[in-house]
Amino acid sequence: MYKIVNKRQLGSQIYLMDIEAPRVAKSANPGQFVIVKMDEKGERIPLTICDYDRDLGTVTIVFQTLGESTKKMAQYEEGEFFSDFVGPLGMPSEFVKEDIDELRKKNILFIAGGVGTAPVYPQVKWMFNNDIKVDVIIGTRTKDTLILEDEMKAVAGELYIATDDGSYGYKGMVTNLLKDLVEKEGKKYDLVVAIGPMIMMKFVCQLTKELNIPTVVSLNPIMVDGTGMCGACRVTVGNEVKFACVDGPEFDGHLVNFDEAMRRQAMYKTEEGRAILKIEEGDTHHRPGCDCE
């Protein structure tokens, strides 16, 4: 059993939790993820490691409520337990092993989309702890859905915020902002790390390919075990099939087949829709003639 030692609501649908999991905290690195299972009947939910405290033995997760499971997870309170919490899974970000002096010479830009801000945070913090100043763009729908602004400001070099509706910071998409930074403000980047919705990563990669900037993305396909045992997470990268849970989740964004990845991500939509209907309509859902059975 894994105790929730801290819970905080970051936005209308976004929650942060610190979980007591000393073995995971001890081995965690930026770029890796965990799998949470709430109780006996729960599914295995992959979530990026957003922070970790090796001394306290805690791991921070940030999640957005989407469907049945994440909604249920948001109802858990401090002092309660998850039955399972396994990790760290996947490979650490490549820079963790790179030569620090080489890394310091690079101009790096992180682009975070929505709840993707959470997984970007530990990477930027790692840079900060190693005396590397990096720029960060956080893109979000509107001011109310912006998360971790203060935390990010404390560790980033320049922090840029973009909102779709212009309610805060730059008005527009992260790709518009990146284009402006490079073309109007003369910014030069040697590496972009983009984490967010698949569609955002796809368009960032299209742009950075034009701009000739190597780009790393973090993929979040459907997963089950997270150990390389099922192949649910397979993605095509440079015409090779990879298992994102063990070979990734980070890949060279210019090689990823995003269209396929997005199609595969939608695989369980109808089933989930059914489950949500069941929660919202209770037993009345099982009415005769309902064709979602």
């Binding site: 995971v24 599914e43 150990t227 199609r263």
Partner: protein, 463 residues
């Protein structure tokens, strides 16, 4: 009792039509009377050939004689000397090529139903709460076991009996390995049979830490150096699924058998109030002909689909157990033999709409001794399916070998280990089961766990 020595005592099974719609066990097992009747067919051979074919050399004639006499507890104790998982092996061993394959009665008539009798005895011992465990005093030495499949459970159990402090580290949230995530409920009941066997191992004092992935959460070196284990046994299985590499294989609706079975067995997606989803579609093709393919097919059938087994050789080459093929057919699984997929077709949203196949014919025997399947020219056709389950075999997962310096593997990614001791190329590190042999059987994995436990004891009692 008048018994026709040449004919097997029939065993009751759920009716095929009924069981095709539920996940309850297919075979209902012998009653006491039936077991005694079947046991009385055994000739109690002086040189029992059956025993020579049992990988863990259970004293088969002795336990069967006890069954004949109605001394079921003594029968259970006899089996327990050699096997820790009799309720499992009695159900899933390929008996027809092992113990029963060499039974002398099989020459003129039907061999003794050794597996079914073993299962009867194990079930009887469980239902009557017989405690078969005898453990020695603790000796203060610690062994780490990686993986809780048959190899790991057996190795851990044997070492605990000898007085070692044993911890099993398991990557998944539930122990049991393939017994839990792979083999379906209707062949191997989880709550009664598998959990009971695992509880027995726990009762011996073995600690099981789930949610620990060796190679990620900890490493073999950290177990030996930081956590003070005196030796490590690797029983991590062969869980990495293979795909065909044909166009369209990443379409929505193409799964590995491992994914499909894990969703159904481990995550219990077939039960309504479990959260994990499973997709089965209306028409399913299961590609492959082994036990795993039969399990996937029969699971899909129970979830309501029309199911086809698509296999490139002919019936006589099907690698699955005869009993499983027979059960699958009875339940209504359709066999499309001498058929090989070449492409998976999908609609604009990526969903499977069909599978392009070619017909095959058998040519000269190949290296495996089986006749080589060859494409029949111009025989291409499209199978109308919306789900494809790839069941093409598995290989060991490289997570451990890629994070353990000096641990040798062969070209199939299998860990190289001594056949008798399980010792690997690393000091104090032993391995066995599917991780060493590649995908094999429960009983062979158990045998390897046993041998390694003995070797670890030999080594640690000297050092």
């Amino acid at each position: 009792m008048a018994v026709d020595r040449m004919v097997r005592t029939p065993i009751s099974e759920q009716d095929p039509k009924v069981r095709a719609t539920n996940f309850d066990e297919v075979c209902l097992g012998y009653t006491e009377e039936e077991a005694i009747k079947e046991a009385s067919r055994c000739l109690n051979c002086k040189k029992p050939l059956c025993v020579s074919q049992c990988p863990v050399t259970i004293d088969i004639p002795t336990f069967i004689q006890y069954v004949k006499e109605g001394e079921f507890e003594k029968a259970a104790r006899t089996i327990a000397q050699a096997s820790a998982l009799p309720a499992v092996c009695g159900r899933v061993c390929p008996q027809e090529v092992q113990c029963e394959g060499k039974c002398v009665l099989g020459i003129k008539g039907e061999s003794v139903a050794i597996g079914k009798l073993e299962r009867f005895v194990a079930d009887w011992a469980r239902e009557n709460n017989i405690d078969l465990n005898e453990t020695k005093e603790k000796n203060g030495k610690k062994v780490a076991v990686i993986g809780s499949g048959p190899a790991g459970l057996t190795c851990a159990g044997d070492l605990a009996k000898l007085g070692y402090e044993v911890t099993i580290f398991e990557a998944l949230h539930e122990p049991g390995g393939v017994l839990i995530y792979g083999i379906p409920e209707f062949r191997l009941p989880k709550d009664t049979v598998v959990k009971h066997e695992i509880d027995n191992v726990k009762k011996l004092g073995v600690k099981i830490e789930t949610n620990v992935i060796v190679g990620r959460t900890v490493t073999i070196d950290s177990l030996l150096e930081d956590e003070g284990y005196d030796a490590v046994f690797i029983g991590s299985g062969a869980g990495l699924p293979k795909f065909m590499g044909i166009p369209g294989e990443n379409s929505n609706g193409v799964f590995s058998a491992n994914e499909f079975l894990t969703r159904s067995n481990l995550m219990k997606a077939y039960i309504d109030d479990y959260a994990t989803p499973i997709k089965v579609g209306k028409k399913v093709a299961v590609v492959g002909g082994g036990n795993v393919a039969m399990d996937a097919a029969r699971t899909a059938l129970r979830l309501g689909a029309e199911v086809h087994i698509v296999y490139r050789r002919s019936e006589s080459e099907l690698p699955a157990r005869v009993e499983e093929i027979h059960h699958a057919k009875e339940e209504g699984v359709i066999f499309d033999l001498l058929t090989n997929p070449v492409e998976i077709l999908a609609d604009e949203n990526g969903w499977v709409t069909g599978m392009k196949c070619v017909k095959m014919e058998l040519g000269e025997p190949d290296a495996s001794g089986r006749r080589r399947p060859m494409e029949v020219a111009g025989s291409e056709f499209i199978m109308d399916v919306d789900t494809v389950i790839m069941s093409l075999g598995t290989s060991p997962n490289p997570l451990i070998t890629s994070t353990t310096e000096g641990l040798k593997t062969n070209k199939w990614q299998c860990i190289v280990a001594d056949e008798e001791t399980g010792l690997t190329s690393r000091d104090r590190v032993y391995a066995g089961g599917d991780a060493v042999s590649g995908a094999a059987t429960v009983i062979l994995a158990m045998g390897a766990g046993k041998k390694a436990a003995k070797a670890i004891d030999d080594f640690l009692s000297k050092n």
